[in-house]
């Protein structure tokens, strides 16, 4: 049924093939059903989303693109359960979360969603390990388990040697990897990354994309990544383009880029201390 919605929605150049509707439903992580978002600014109503229907399946790596004001950020806020749709429904792993209370949404964010932001958003003067522990604190995980899982997550992103470093002792790429570790430590249904490479130089961007591709490929983690850079979108498996509050295009990526291969072909950075932490 969700798949049909996708196909029936006019204006979508549906180039992806979700396979049989039943199978797709079983492995669907995100399903938006005619979602609208209307902001009231005084007397003026702003239609940020005008009936978005979108489905993301387990194991997908989706790049969300669009100009600013296209509605992609609003869509990500709704998918991240930071906001609620004004109209329409949102299913997260089959559960209708569009009408949940503030507290319930906090719990959903804690258990099922991992956020990675453009500005890293780590707690200052707090070690990498403690930053990664934070989501587990709010989940109520025991101290010993917290430490163990935080270490594992940091090792997974290649920061096993940087556990006790403060954010200001880490490079931008390392900080973003701490943020990724924090996002995946509660084993979420999906990682939402909002312009994760926006503050990084091109080489570090490739390194961060390498982490995402690794997690997606080896761990089967579902990722939705907002970007306005077409280059970065090429690392994903699928691209969804927003315009004027609607999905304009939705296509599978051809000639997908591999961050791993590109890194191997780049000249080694002589004074790059990150080499030792490489995956």
């Amino acid at each position: 049924m969700e798949a049909e919605v996708l196909i029936n929605d006019k204006g979508i150049e549906s180039e992806s093939e979700p396979g049989s509707p039943l199978a797709a439903f079983a492995s669907t992580v995100i399903a938006l059903d005619h979602v609208h978002k209307i902001y009231k600014m005084g007397d003026v109503e702003i239609h940020a989303l005008r009936g978005v229907s979108l489905q993301i399946d387990k194991g997908e790596f989706v790049a969300i693109m669009g100009a600013s004001g296209s509605g992609k950020s609003t869509m990500m806020n709704i998918v991240g359960c930071l906001d609620r749709p004004s109209k329409g429904r949102y299913f997260l792993e089959g559960q209708d979360v569009s009408g949940l209370s503030k507290d319930d949404r906090a719990d959903i964010r804690n258990r099922k969603i991992g956020f990675v932001f453009q500005g890293f958003n780590l707690l200052a003067r707090t070690s990498a390990l403690e930053n990664v522990e934070l989501p587990m604190l709010y989940l109520g995980v025991k101290h010993a388990d917290r430490i163990r899982r935080a270490k594992e997550a940091l090792e997974l992103v290649g920061l096993g040697q940087r556990l006790n470093n403060m954010p200001n002792q880490l490079s931008g790429g390392q900080q973003q990897r701490v943020a990724i570790a924090r996002a995946l430590v509660n084993d979420p249904s999906i990682i939402l990354a909002d312009e994760p490479t926006g503050n990084l130089d091109s080489r570090t961007s490739i390194e961060v994309m390498d982490v995402f591709q690794y997690l997606n490929r080896e761990q089967g983690i579902t990722i939705a990544l907002v970007t306005h850079e077409p280059d970065i979108a090429q690392y994903a498996t699928r691209v969804v383009v927003f315009k004027d509050g609607k999905v304009r295009r939705d296509y599978a990526v051809e000639n997908r880029r591999s961050a791993r291969v590109e890194l191997e072909n780049l000249p080694a950075n002589v004074d790059d201390e990150e080499e030792e932490d490489e995956l």
Binding site: G80, A106, R111, N121, A124, T126, L134, Y138, G140, N186
Partner: protein, 407 residues
């Protein structure tokens, strides 16, 4: 998420900005320190006033025989002949609020020793052996006369310091014999110096003899002029007064329409007035210090509000990764309570230290009561709750999307 974890989160959040935490606490530290020191000074003053009052006697009452007012003959207090030593025995025996009582008579007269003579302004006072205890007036040397001396109307006496100075000129009077109104009396002891009374009278210019001796051998009377009574506690003086009134009216067979033939003077009135003035002083000091504490609390609120604004992003991050609003509220509340409680405890330590310094350098008596310590610590905790609540609510009410976007 349990409270302990929130507590640790709050502590580590405070630990990230130690300088600010310390400065925020400073207001509370000064406030609580001032409360402790000021109340200490006030209570010390109050205690020393009470000590002075107590030196007047132990919760004392004077029962004066009434004025003679019969058949046109009128005289002052102590002239009526209705008050007898048996009344005083009865007062001591039957009034439950009375601890001790002594019959008392007094008369003027000359003392002679060798070629010196002296007429004490405090007169020749006759009492029983309980005088030192009732008046809280210990003996400095020798001893006070005994129960037996009273019973046998022995010619013995105890001298006040001024009398000794004037009659003996430095010689030891104990064991000597002086003439009191021309009768020889053996000196048993000397009273400790009590100085001036609150009315400016020299209390040491007196000689104490057994009341029986004075009644029979000096004055030849069978009634007493007054009685000294001590109540069992400061609060019991009014009860004692009532009980004595009832008893004496009954013993003197006074009908309901007759006036008392005695007057009771209660030294507690004086003590109350003094206590009241010292407690006004304590309250004044405490309220000034309380204002300081209040200012400290507002300081905490101010910093916490700034902190909420400054940490908007942190709050956004915490909310995005799953902290419920109430967890955020609790964290900020615990932060402010921790600041104010720790500040309060440091303040107590400083306040105690300050009052010790005041006691030693200014020679002011200070008294630190455990109650003022407990009250200040509890109050500083409350300051944390009250002034931390609004900032905490502000933090919890933030929208995570706006908070994350906040620059």
């Amino acid at each position: 998420m349990n409270l302990w974890v929130t507590f640790k989160v709050a502590l580590s959040a405070l630990g990230r900005n130690k300088m600010r935490a310390a400065l925020t606490m400073l207001g509370i530290i000064i406030g609580v320190g001032a409360v402790i020191a000021m109340v200490g000074v006030g209570q010390g003053a109050s205690a020393s006033i009470q000590q002075q009052i107590a030196s007047l006697g132990n919760n004392m009452l004077y029962v004066w025989s009434g004025s003679q007012n019969q058949g046109g003959m009128r005289g002052g207090s102590g002239t009526a002949a209705t008050f007898v030593p048996e009344d005083v025995d009865a007062i001591e025996r039957e009034c439950t609020a009375v601890k001790e009582a002594s019959p008392a008579v007094q008369a003027g007269g000359q003392l002679v020793f060798g070629n010196q003579n002296w007429s004490p302004s405090g007169r020749i006072v006759g009492t029983n052996e309980k005088f030192p205890s009732i008046r809280a007036w210990p003996i400095a040397s020798g001893e006070f006369f005994s129960d037996a001396d009273v019973k046998t109307a022995a010619r013995v006496c105890v001298l006040g310091k001024t009398v000794v100075d004037n009659l003996f000129e430095g010689a030891d009077p104990v064991g000597q014999t002086i003439r009191v109104r021309n009768l020889p009396f053996r000196v048993l002891g000397v009273l400790s110096s009590k100085g001036q009374s609150s009315f400016g009278q020299d209390q040491d210019d007196t000689v104490i003899v057994p009341y029986t001796t004075e009644m029979k051998k000096l004055l030849s009377i069978t009634h007493i002029q007054y009685a000294m009574v001590s109540a069992i506690s400061p609060g019991a003086t009014f009860l004692a007064q009532e009980q004595i009134t009832d008893l004496l009216r009954q013993r003197h067979k006074l009908s309901a329409n007759q006036d008392n033939d005695f007057t009771i003077r209660n030294l507690t009135d004086v003590a109350d007035a003094a206590n009241q003035s010292s407690s006004i002083m304590t309250n004044l000091l405490a309220s000034i210090a309380g204002v300081a504490l209040m200012v400290g609390g507002i300081g905490i609120m101010n910093i916490m509000l700034v902190s909420v604004t400054e940490r908007t992003r942190e709050i956004g991050i915490r909310m995005a990764i799953g902290a419920r609003s109430r967890v955020i509220r609790r964290q900020f509340l615990i932060e402010s309570i921790t600041l104010s409680l720790v500040g309060g405890i440091i303040g107590v330590i400083l306040g105690v230290a300050a009052s010790i310094v005041i006691a030693n350098t200014l020679k002011w008596p200070t008294l630190i009561s455990p109650i003022s310590i407990i009250v200040s610590v509890v109050f500083s905790g409350l300051v944390g709750v009250i002034f931390g609540y609004y900032p905490a609510v502000r933090a919890a009410a933030l929208d995570p999307i706006d908070a994350l976007r906040y620059e």
